[in-house]
């Protein structure tokens, strides 16, 4: 697959997170907390004058939050609450969702290839899920295994980030739509 490197000016790098937060806030206001946090990290890295804060957010803060999340979830995961049939059902539904998501991405990329003059590698569709950055890396590894000259990491990562943003927006739209639609029943 051809890959064209595009030079992105600094001003666009800085404006990008601000615009994304604004658009997401207008279309799906509930998503602003999540998208805003994601884009704040992007902004402090892209602006270039907050290197210390950006490094702290990427390393110390990310590790601390991971530890705190693990400890908090682990401490509330009591046997009575966890050993429940509903836990298995939730895990099963998650697994089915991931399978359909991955297969749907590949099939949609194949559908797009019917109309595109420059074909895209359908494996990129499999990276369009919110599991960032593992799905992008796995897709790149699988592509390189098939053909060592395959280099689709950048395209897979962009699909992966789009999947991440899309899942946040989808979640917030469902939170807004479900009570509105189902209250009429």
């Amino acid at each position: 697959m051809p890959y064209n490197q595009v030079e992105v000016p600094r001003i666009v790098e800085i404006l990008f997170p601000i615009m994304i937060t604004l658009i997401a806030g207008i279309v799906a206001p509930i998503s602003v907390a999540l998208i805003g946090s994601l884009m704040f990290g992007n902004l402090i890295r892209a602006c270039g004058v907050l290197t210390r804060l950006s490094n702290a957010a990427q390393n110390e803060l990310a590790n601390l939050i991971t530890l705190l999340l693990g400890i908090t979830i682990g401490s509330t995961m009591t046997a009575e609450a966890f050993l429940d049939i509903r836990t298995i059902m939730i895990m099963g539904m998650g697994l089915v969702a991931f399978i359909f998501d991955t297969a749907g991405g590949v099939l949609f990329a194949k559908l797009l290839n019917l109309f595109l003059p420059t074909k895209v590698n359908p494996m990129i569709g499999a990276a369009g899920i919110s599991a960032f950055p593992m799905s992008g890396r796995v897709v790149q590894r699988m592509a390189a295994k098939e053909d060592p000259t395959n280099f689709i990491l950048m395209q897979a990562m962009s699909a992966n980030v789009a999947g991440q943003l899309g899942s946040v927006v989808a979640g917030s739209l469902i939170l807004a739509l479900v009570p509105a639609v189902f209250s009429a029943l």
């Binding site: 799906a28 943003l165 009429a184």
Partner: protein, 43 residues
């Protein structure tokens, strides 16, 4: 089967999918516009 419930579920699915695609397309258009403007002004 409760057809009304299925209909409501399909309605949420359609609006949700439409919303996600619309937002991602808007992100793409906004980024392209920003790139275009900045390339024009830098020339």
């Amino acid at each position: 089967m409760d057809m009304q419930l299925i209909g409501a579920g399909l309605e949420v699915t359609a609006f949700g999918l439409g919303g996600v695609f619309a937002v991602l397309i808007l992100f793409y258009i906004a980024t392209k516009i920003m790139l275009g403007i900045s390339n024009k002004t830098s020339k």
